[in-house]
Every structure is written in C-alpha cells, then in structure tokens.
C-alpha cells in the first residue's frame, strides 16, 4: 500500500486517504439494485477509538469469505462525509499477518483497567470476607465461572457492554460498597461484598459473547436467566461444600441475588427485604447508570454536547456542560 499515515478511527477526516489496522465488527454482503445486481460488502471497521461504516464495492467471492466479523484487517481507504456521517470507501483490504505485530485486544472496547488486575481485586475482596461459609460460597462460584470473568461484558448493550465489563462493574461496585459500609456500619460488610460479587456472576452463561461483544442470549439464559442461575449455583455450592442449604447465611445470599433487580417486572422474583439487599440494588444501579454516561461521553466528539439517547436512562440523552 502506498505511503499513507496510519490513522485511528477517531482521527479520520472527510476527503482524506489513509491506512490503518482495524477489526471488522460487523460484515454483510449486499447487492446493488443495478441490472444485473452486483455484490458489495458493508463492513464496520473499529479500533479502540471508535467505529466507522465502510463499503467494499465489487466484492469478489473470495472477499465474501475472507472478511467476516471479528477479522483483523489492514485497510487503505478514503473517508467521505455521507449524510452528515463519515463513511469509508475501501480501496485495498487484506487480513493482518503475524508480521504486522497487531493483536486483537488492541482493537476492542474494553474496561479501562487491566482485566487481570480487576480479577485480582475481586479475589482479594473474596479473601477478606470474614465469615467462612460466605467466603467459601463466593469462592466456589468464582471458580465455577473461572477465566470467563476476565473478558465477559456485563450486558448485551445496556451498560458495561465490553471486554471485561462485568469484572470492572464488580470492582467499581465494591468501591461504593466499601464506602457505604464505612458510612453505615449496621450493614454487614461480608454480605455486601458477597452480594456484589455474586449478583451478576451467571451472566457469562446467560449470554454468548466473544471479545466482550454479546451475539445472543443462550438457551439457558432465556429459560432460566442469570438471576435464578446464580441462585442455583449457591445451592450447588452449599451442597458440594457440605453446608445446610437452608441456613440463614445461605438464605441471605440467595436473597441478595434473587432481589437485586428490585422489582418483579425487572426480573426479581422477590423484592429486597434485607438492608444489604436494598443497598446492593442501589449500588448496582448507581454504578451502571453513571458508567453509561461516562461511556457515552467518550464516544461523542469534543465539539458536541448531547450524547445519543441512552436506553438505560429512560432513553434520555445526556448533555455535557461547557463549564
């Protein structure tokens, strides 16, 4: 390819040619309405700074096979404004090779902290739980989900919908939880920690995800849901660890998980009836909503003030103040 500047998605400008490495996030073959129709491809090129629509005209049979979603490619193209949005016309495209020295993880949206570090925080918090039974159940469930916590998103699109989004959500909630237990000592810190770690622990089996991007809900996810699934794991933990599944400790853990969506219409079969369950719901909600805003601000250009409408905030857009 000719001598062009390597350019991130965020830095593409109307009318300029460029090269760059990108991840194909979405890919589809379409046909023109000409007679006879010709195939072309609609690709979404992305890197950690954003995503842009791209057209690959006159797509060959080989192109159609070579560039599915989740492919890492080198692209030469031209950026053009089209209906107020930048669009890329692809001039050249090829898959990346080892020699390019690029790896997938550079190209995906991800939590702003190293996942292994986040996981270590979760493990350290688990170790700090003083009650032996509670700690053991939390550890059992953590072991059950294992490495998936390193990359699972917290949701399909609602909030923290990216690589390691779930563990990032947990860690930030643990920070709020720690503050709150200090502010209100009548709260049981062990339960707050356990509730935060367990509340969404079954999300990685509720959704099918790759690189932090959820493609669908699993059958298990649809028929049982992450809330009930986590409660079943707590019972499993109690039985496998030789505890009484009807003890008050286990019942409290079940309740924290089952009630954390607060209302029946949001998926909780029981409503919060422990102080820690009420706290857990509010910690969860506060962290999710503020993260939605922080993430939405990151995707709009510096000279824009309004984000797109955010579904999790009653579909309201958020305004960025100028002072």
């Amino acid at each position: 390819m000719k001598d062009l500047v390597m350019t991130n998605v965020r830095d593409l400008r109307d009318g300029e040619e460029f090269v760059g490495f990108y991840l194909i996030k979405e890919s589809e073959v379409k046909q023109t309405n000409t007679t006879p129709p010709k195939d072309f491809m609609n690709l979404t090129l992305s890197d950690s700074t954003g995503a842009v629509a791209a057209k690959l005209w006159d797509a060959s049979e080989s192109d159609k096979v070579s560039y599915p979603a989740m492919t890492l490619v080198k692209v030469q193209g031209a950026a053009q404004l089209y209906r107020d949005k930048l669009q890329v016309k692809i001039v050249r495209i090829r898959k990346t090779t080892e020699a390019d020295g690029v790896s997938l993880t550079e190209f995906i949206r991800s939590a702003p902290v190293e996942p292994s570090e986040l996981l270590a925080t979760v493990q350290a918090t688990t170790d700090s739980i003083t009650d032996n039974d509670i700690r053991a159940v939390v550890q059992y469930c953590l072991d059950k989900i294992g490495d998936r916590l390193l990359h699972a998103p917290a949701a399909k699109s609602h909030h923290h919908a990216y690589y390691a989004g779930l563990v990032y959500h947990i860690v930030r909630m643990l920070e709020i939880g720690a503050f709150l237990c200090k502010q209100r000592p009548f709260l049981n810190a062990d339960l707050i920690k356990a509730g935060i770690i367990l509340h969404d622990i079954a999300k990685p089996v509720e959704m099918v995800s790759e690189l932090g991007i959820v493609s669908d809900y699993s059958t298990q996810g649809k028929l049982i849901g992450h809330i009930s699934q986590a409660s079943l794991w707590i019972t499993e933990a109690a039985l496998q660890l030789g505890m009484n599944p009807d003890s008050e400790r286990i019942m409290a853990l079940q309740h924290l998980v089952l009630s954390h969506h607060n209302l029946g219409e949001w998926g909780s079969p029981v409503q919060p009836q422990l102080a820690e369950a009420v706290a857990l719901h509010h910690i969860d909600s506060m962290d999710a909503k503020l993260q939605m805003i922080e993430d939405a601000f990151a995707t709009i250009p510096d000279d824009e003030s309004w984000t797109a409408p955010i579904r999790g905030l009653e579909n309201k857009a958020i305004y960025r103040l100028n002072f």
Copy 2:
C-alpha cells in the same frame, strides 16, 4: 347444658337458642368502654358448614386462657341478628372432652376429596412419568415435602385456602393436563405432569399453616419465595441423584417452575418459553379461578345471587344465575 338441638353454623336462626360443638378459629380479648372497663371475648366459632361471630361477655381470667384459637368447644348460646348479620351470645362454654367423641378434622374446611386419595393420585401420576430423570426429580421433591402435602392449603386466601387445598389443586390440574395432552399431542405429557406436581411444591415451606389455615408467610417464604425454592430443590435433586444440573431435562423442569406465574410482576423471574410452560400457566390459572367461584357459591345462602367480591378475579363478585 339444657336440652337443646345440636346445631350446625349454617342452620343457626335469629332469636333461637342452640347448643353445638365448634372450633374457635379466631379469639381476642377486648375491653368495654365502661368505667371501669370489663373484659369480654370476641370468638369466631366455626364448623365445616361455616363460621359465626360470638361474644363471651364478662370473660374471667380462666376464660381468657382456656379459649385461644384452634380450641374445640361445646357452646350453648343464642343467635341474634346484629346489623344484618347473625351473632352469637354465648351462655355457656367448655372445652370438649374425649367423651364428646368429636375430632378436629370434622370442623375445618377441607378439600372435597379424602387427602390420602388425592395424594395417591399424585403418586400414581408420578409413577406414570416415562422419563426416568424427570420421574426421579419429581419423586425427590415429593419425598422432601412428605406428609405436609396431606394438609397444606394452596394459598393464604387467594384460592384453595383450606385443608389439603394444595394437593386437591394439583389433582384437578392433572385432570386438565391429561385432557390437554390428548387434545394436543405435541405437548410432552411427562413435562406437563411434572410441571403440575412441582409448580407449587414449595408452598408448604413458604407459608406457616395449621389445619389448612395459613397464619403467616415464613421468613424463607418471604426472602426466597416458593417459586425459587422449588427451583433450588430441583437442583438439589439433580445433584443428589447424580444428574447433570445443566441438562436440557433439568433446565426444562426449572423453566416450568420459574415461569408458571407468567409475568414478572406476578413473581416469575422468566416468562414461559416452552409450550408446556404456556400450558402449565393456563391450566393453573383456569383451575384456580373456577375453584374460587365454586367455593364462593358454596358460602352464600341459597336465596342470594351475588358472591362477595373475589380478590383473585379482579375483585369482581360473581352472579349465580337463576336458571
């Protein structure tokens, strides 16, 4: 006591004296507003034909101790109309003795079929389940609840709120289920049977009841609820019986139980997504609503046309036709 006719509650008439054996269903001590105030007791006397309010004036300390709820008594009294309702003024009262030859079960509201016979039907249906795993899980849960199924009501007041109400509800649902599987063979009969037997199986631990009368929800019932509790037992059954708790059979059973209230606001964390789950919800609802009406008709005098408002029917009263 003097020579009066033994009279059932349903046959008490204004202005007549009577004697009879009754169960005290409710009991409270009150004070008159005289100066100084005097103690009297408000009792609810009941037998299998109904219940009536009664006053025991000038209650002694011994009376207050001797006549709590759930006591079987012989009463001599006078029935009087008071604000359009019959009320009993107690003249004499004593606890029953062995010599009276009466037993508690004659005095309580109960399913119209012998509980042991109902339980036998449930057991026979369980035995008829062809799939080994499904049958074993159902049996495990039946064993877990054991004899409580002989007397547990199906609800606090909503429907089938009497002795053996739950097992009666199950058996009637099994009849509808059998019909439906014949009418629509694409339904899996094993799952319909299992779903019907398991759907409310945890109700006896969700509520505290005696003689079919629920006094309160248990702490377990409030914090976990019968829906999630039954799902936990299914996991327990699978683990104890050496089955894979993530198999499709177990997942289907979980789903039937979890979804049978249909909507989140009615307590189901997931909505029906199996044909059998949709069927189960409708069988459950149809049996509960029609039983409410049948039971309500049984409590109104022959010359009245309207029942009291029925909470489970959007608080509508039901009209009994005259033809």
Copy 3:
C-alpha cells in the same frame, strides 16, 4: 420452461434452480437507484408450506399489471442466500391456466381440518343446546354469518390467522368446554356452548379478509368492534324471535360476549361476573395461545429450536425441546 423439478417453498435450497406453482401474497413495484432508474418487482411467493421473497428485475408495464397480490403463477427461478435468508431471482413467470390444474386453495394456509366438517360440528353442538331460547339465538347468529364461517380467519395475525381459522378455533374451544363441563358440573353447559360459538361470531364483519388473509379492519369493525357487534346481534335475535331482550337468558348471553376479553384495556366493556364467563375467557385464551405455538413450530425448519417472537405471548419466542 426447462426441465426442472417442481419444488415447494419449504424445499428451496441455496444455489438451485427450480420451477413451481405459487400464490403471490404480496406485490410491489420498486425502482432501482440507477440513472435512469428501472422498475423491478418485489413479490412474495407462497404455497401451503411457506413463503419466500422474490425479485422480478426489469419489470415491464405488462408485468406490473399482470402480477398483483392473490395471483396464481408458475415461476422458474434460482434460489440464493441473501443476508442469511433465501431469496428467489425470477427467470420466468406466467399466470397459471386452467390446464395447469391447480386451484387457489392448495396454496393458502388453512385449518388442519376440512372447514365443512368443522362447521358441521358447530351446527351439531348448536343442536345439542337444551334451552330453546339460547339455542334459537345461537342459530340466528350462525345464520346471520352464514358461509363466511367456512373461511374466515380468527384474527389479522394474532392467532388462527388463516383460512377457516375462526371455525377451527371454535371447535377446539368446544372440546375444552365439553371437558370442563364434565369436570365441573356446576357450569351451565348450554351457556358454555353458546358463549364459545358466539364470542367471536362478528369477526367476519369486523375484518376484511380473502382466503383467510385479513387485509384490513372494516369501518364497522373499527367503530363498533366485534364484541359490541355480536351483542347487537343477540338483541336483534331476541327481538326478531319475539323474546324479551331483558330476560336473564339474553342478559347472560350478552354478558358472555361482552366480557370475554376479560379486561377493559383488552376491549371488554364489562368484566366476567358469571362462572361461565370466567370459564369462557380461560378456554379462549388457552386455545389461542397453544395454537400460536403449534403453528409457530410448523413454520420453523426441523433443525431450529427457537420460533420467531410471538406477539400474543408477550412477544416471547418459544423453544422446541430436543427430547
């Protein structure tokens, strides 16, 4: 046309050429975005096994006139996967002729039982109503709707939305009703029969349909609705047959029809207040929901497990179990 295998819609395969007879269910003329634009046609080809999108490129003026919706055609074409869906590129197309020996009814979705047989069942059930007045009113309304019952669908898309769907729905409900009256003899069997036959009897005038496919609601349907329309017919029947329109029998029939949607927000001006009205609503709902599922299963390939979301089931998709 060349020697190709006659192929049903369900058996079309990617990349294969075929011929076949189909019904055009939908038809529209579009223009390409070329300069100058050219006309082409988007057709939906259907037979009793399903439906598929098709393109007729370079449509002539004669084509545009010859191939409106509801036309029976012979097509030679090629099936191609386009965005994960099969699409047909039409090579040749012509209207069918008498010589082809095909008739419209082979190509439409229809109840699985012969309509005349279903209608006979409805008539026999009407004849079995023991109360003279009730039977006469039912017969009057049946006569009023006449042959339209042979082909009317039960809904635009909600459930039983096909040829003879309404009468099929009635017959299946009558089966449930018969079971229920046997299980619970306090229900008035005459009213159950009459309520089932009358509840949707005005649907054929509420909707404009051809061959079981509803194109729109009628003005009468929008301004009065099938529920009130049926109640007006009952009054008309009473008056024409010389009965008292205020008698309890007529009032009961009115109530059954008026209340069968159960709630005001679902279109019922009064809520069920007869035992038979409560039963009718549940029979109606149970049959409609289970039929939606049975029909949805019939339209998905054998190797798929999930149906499309079903609007009448809170927009939930249904999972087909693998055991």
Copy 4:
C-alpha cells in the same frame, strides 16, 4: 316539643338545642358494649342544606321499626362537637304527619334547576335535530327511559349524584355542545346533540336509585353496563322503527355511545374515531369535573379554603381562592 327555633342542618351550632324537620338518609341499630349491651341508633339527618350524624340512645323496638332510611321526621335535639365534628343527641323524635305540611322533595339534594324544565330542554333539543333517523332514535330512547329522567342521578357518587343530576348534566353538556358546534362548524350538530342525550341514557337502569340516591348497581348494570345497554337500545330503536341497523347513521350513534368513556380501562370497548366522538368525550369530562368542584365548594363552610379530596379529580382536594 318545646319552643325551639326550627333550624336547618347548616345552621346547627355546638351546645345549642333545636328542633327541625329532617330526612333520615341512613339508619342503623347498634349495641353499646355495656353488660348487658343496649340498643341505640345511628341516624344521618339531612335536609337540602346538608347532613349530620345523630344518636338515638336507648332505642325501643318501636323506634327500630319506625325510623328506617328515607323517613321524614321531626326531631328535637342538642348539637355537640365530638372529635371536631358536630353531632346530634336526639331528645325527641317522631314521624312527620300531613299536618306538618312538609314534603320529601324539600329535603333532598337536587339539581339547581327544576327537573321538568330540564326535561323540556332535552325534548326541545331532540325536536331540533334535523336528521329524521337520528331524531327518531333519540326520541325512542327518551321514551324508553321516560319519567325516570326527571329524578335519576348521573352517578353513585362520582358526579351529579343527586335528584335530576343526570338530566342536569345532559342540559349543561348541550350548552357546551352548542357553543362548540358554532366555534367549529365541521362538527355535525345533530350527532353532537344525539350523542349528549344518549351517552348516559341507560344509567337509570344501571343503578337502583331513589330520590337521586343510588343504593346499588342493578344486576343488569353489572353484567351489561350502561354503555352497552344504550347501544342495545339504539339497535332496538332501529329495528322497531324499520331502519337498517347497519346504516352509517346508526353506526355513528352506536360509536358515540360506545366510545364516550374514551379508554378501554374506563369502560369503552372502542376508542373515539369520529370528530363528534372526540368532542363528546371532552364535553362530558369538562362538565363532570367542573360540576364536582362547584358542588364541593357548596358543601364547605365559608371560612374553609380546601374541599375534601374529590375522587373524580385524581383524589385531589380543590383550593378556593381568597380573591
């Protein structure tokens, strides 16, 4: 009785003795909690200026028979403040005699215009309908309800809940309707007039009332409701008058009646889809709400600013301004 001033309810003062003629609006026998208990009566004494609670202590058997609701009595008593409310202790009471020269209608709450005058306005408006068919149907329904329109209230308690309340409501609505047809000539004045007169025409058979006071809904009222009942009368009118019940005129009248509650949850099986139906709903609502306020202001003392909460206004109290 001794020489006391004849006093209206509105003029009773704490600590003063009085005599007066009153209507007993409510009457019940109660028992004191003394031993033995004694009978006394709780009466509600009313005249056109208001109502007050009264006690008749030591009620004899004859008292209990002589003073049911709807009895006109002469009372000597003493007014006392009891828990911030005036209450009457009855000293003497007797039924009125012909010699007293008082008649029932002086004692009841009533529309502020003579009922016969209101009815004449309704008749004159009916006569002014230019379309022969519409006028004939309205006249048929007016004849059907006959004299009951002279005294029927418009509701049990919601609005215009007094003698001739319904016809007063109709007349005031006709005034708004006349204004509106002048302001917006595209509205069909015949339909506006007919819709206003017919919309609540079946209320007198929906409710059981005496002297403008509704004691209950009738069985017909509960099972059919005034909305559907009026629509059935329109069909009856059309059939008896030899009109086509499916004509657009009749359909329009049906629609006006059926849709006038606007929403399904408020009892309308169809929603307004004629300009005149939208207008009718707004005229009805505007008149009802403002009358509620005007009536509420009339019942509070001059020195109070807030009415009691008004159920028909989202249970809001209304503030009377001081300027």
Copy 5:
C-alpha cells in the same frame, strides 16, 4: 423553462409535466448503489396546499450547496406514481429571484387567521384583565416573548404544528374560556384568561423553529421545559414589577401554568387544585384534540374517509362521515 401550467402540489397528477414555485422543506444528498456511486438529492417540495417527494438525479456539487431546506425554488418536473404515491422527477430547478415576486410565507402551512390579528386579540384580552397584578404579569411575559408569538408553532408535531399555531391555539382557547366563564360564573375570568395566555408562553424558547417548523428542542427546552420556564418568568415578572412572589395571585398563576398538563407523567409537577386549573386543562385538551382532527381532515383527499393515525389521539385514525 417551457410553457407549462403553474401547478400547486395538491393538483399534481400522475404522468403530467408541470412548473411551479415551491419551498424545499427537507433536503438530503444520497448516493446510488451503482459502481461508482453517483450523488442525487431527495427533496421535499411544499406549498400551502401540501408536500411531495422529489428526486434530483445526478446532483452537481453546486446543486448540493444551492438547495438546502428552507430554499424557495422554481421547478420544472414530471409527476409519477411510485408505490401508490406521487413522486416528482425534477427536470429543471433554480432558486427564485426577486423578479418572481413570490414570498416565503405563501408556501408554508399556517394558522387560518392572520397572525397579527390573532396577536391583537391576545393583547385585547390581556387589556381586559381587571386585576392589575395579574394583567401586569401577563403583559410582562407577552413582552418577553414578543414577536416570536407571531410565528411560533404550538408543538413539534403534536398539534397546531405550523406558523402562528401557538397564538391561534391561544385565541381559540380564549373563546372556549369566555363561554365557560359565562356558563359557570364561579370561575375567575381573569385567571382563565391569564392561564390560557401563559400556559404555553415559553414554548418558543423550548423549541427551535423557523417558519412554524420545529427542527429540534433547545437545550433550555430539554433541561427546564416550557412549563417550568414559564413559571420562572412569572417569578421574574413579580420581582421586576415589585410584587410579592409569594402572594396568592402569583401563586395562582404559577399553579395554573405548572398544573396544566394535568398529570406528572405528562410533565406537570403538581396536579390541578384550583377550579380554574381544572378548567384550563380541559380547555387546552379540547382545543388541541379537535384541531388535530380538523387539520387531519384538511390533508386527506375528498374521496378518502380515514385520516392517518393521530398520535395525540391515542394513535387512532379518525373517520369522516359521509352524511
């Protein structure tokens, strides 16, 4: 341009060529899917009789700059039916010049009365307010909004969404208000007038509009809303005019504005608790709904009976009667 008849949008006919002056209401540049793609423009041409879609094929760079929305142009074109709708193929296009003698206001949808005349009515009504304080506050707010009242629409699309729609809405409401104060003299006419004039007075700053067409809500409109904004202006008026902002008069004005949407979910922070506030809400609603219908009727051809669904009427379409 050649010698063609000047034609209004409403009079375009399929297959005919024409010329005319139009306002471009919407404008966008699109690309064909040909290879290489070519630019064309989708324009919406409008005049006071309606609007029509138009295509400008092979758009030059100069075209793209010259024909944004809100441009007045002379067009030569051909009308063609495309998917049941008329579409214009533009043959020639140019901006209008002074010589053409056309002005923007001829081309936009507008209230049916001259804006200056409407404004004069508002001013005269303001002058007729007898209470000095109320009149001064209304005048202050009128001055604040100034000339914007001459052209501001009353809404983005809901109702009165055209040039001078807001002031037309106010004047029509004043007519209803005057009638109502005459019918029910207990209403305070000053408050009714003031409430009507002030209730939507801040709409011109809530929305960004040009020529009566709202392009978006302003940031102020989103963050504060016209209801609270108007209440802030009342406080400002009181302070600037030296009145006590806590006086009952000012409080009443605040309440009228704050409560006029009736319910919290419709944007009112308090619910109507003054008679005049209840009246204001009903006047507002009645005028808005009936105007929606009147305007909808004006946009459908004479031979059609149903309007499009109207969002403000629960998304119901309205039927135009044939008699």
Copy 6:
C-alpha cells in the same frame, strides 16, 4: 405522686406501675357508649425512646383543655397488655413545671447528630464551592431558609421524618457525593454539592411542621410543591444577585432541582439529563432508603426480626439477620 421509678417508654412492662415525664404527641377526647356517655381522653405519650397509647378515663373539662398535643406532662400510671400491645391507664397527670427541669427537645425524635453541627457542615461545604456564581446562589437559598434548616424534617413520614431530619439527610448525601466525585472525577463537584444542598431546600415551606413533626402540607406546598418552589428561588437568587437567569450555570442548577425525583409520576417535570442530575437522584434515593431501614430497626425490640412494612420500600418489611 408516690414513690415510683422514673421510666422511659421503651422500659414499660405489663402490670407495672410507673411515673415519668412524657410529651403528648396526639390527643383526642372520646365518649364512652354508656348511657349517658362519659368523656375520656386518648393520649399518645412519647419520649425519645418511643411512644405508647394511654387512656385518661373520666376526663374533666379542665383535662380536655390542659392536655392537647405537644404538651409536656408528668404521668403516674399502670401499664397493661391490651390486644398484644402495651397500653397505659393514667392514674395521675399534670403539666410539667420549670422546677421539673425538663425541656421539650429531650422528648422528640431527632437526627443522631447535633443540628448546629450539621448546619455547620452544610455551610462549610457551601464555602468550598469553587464557582462563584454557584456558591452565591446556594448561599442565597440557604439564607432564605435560615434557621428552619435546624429543625425541619425531610418528609411527613416517608424518610428522615424527625427533628433536623432534612439537614441530616443533606449532610449524609454530601458524604456520598464527596466519595462519588473522587471515584468518578468527570462529575462536577460544585454541581454535586449545590444539587444536594438545594434539592429539598424548599421543603420547610412545603410542609407545616413543629419539632420535626409535620402536621400538614401548606397551601403553597400543595399548589407549587417544593421542587418548583426551589427552582423559583434559584431564579430569584440570580435576579437579586445580578446574574443572567438563562446562563448555563443557572440552567444546570435549575435542572438538578427540577429533575431530582427522576420521573414525572414522582413529581419531576423534566428527567435527569446531566451526569450530575443522574448522580443526584441516586445519591438521594440511596440515602433515603437506607435511612428508612436504619430508623425502622431502631424502633423494633431486640427480639424481633421483622420491621413494619416500609412505605418507601414498596411497602416491604425488612428482616434483621441473626448473624
């Protein structure tokens, strides 16, 4: 009075005589149903440890005048269990005198921190706001409410319904706010501080309270509400301090106050559309709900596990764990 132990409400025991100083929280005169009836008084005696019902039999005219609510009294009485609740029979009662050395504030429920200290924290936080305009507006509103912040409750009964409850709520929210701004630096700390201090600042004029006990809402509170009232004060502050009321800073403050109830049905005319507004709502909700629980735990005996149902928590009772 005789030589009895001074006893707090929490320490009263069945059957024991006692003396003590109490505040009369509620007081009413009732009559016995004896003939003739006698007056007695129902009092609620309270101190900082709780409240108990008490009867003063044979109340004299002087008693009725001497013991209204909010009177401080010395009582000699006997505690008795009556229907499972302790009740006091008053033997002697007198108003306290200066010699008793007791002051009102010892007897009322109050925030657990000295009000002046809480107010000092609010002032210090105000001083720490870096933006001059924002700080000045906050200070203006604080000055406006003045000393009332020392004792105003935060609500009638919902949460923090006691002496200095409002300022305690503010201070606890400021703690959460400070944590959150540290955790998420993109939040504007000045706005978080200002929003917390201002959000409920108008509550003291919305409700009529004495000693932290709300007796009613004020007329201003009902017609305008604390949300709009606070927004009006912000405008007043801007105008009086010479700022532009339309500046972005002022608009942001308005928005924080207006949106803090989150939804229209909860009283907010606009929904949160600033990050700080979303945060403010969550901080408010988290603090209010957890305080409700903490306060509810304080009122139940040590041996009880369940609180009474808490209205602000969807009417759920909360369970106190035993570990």
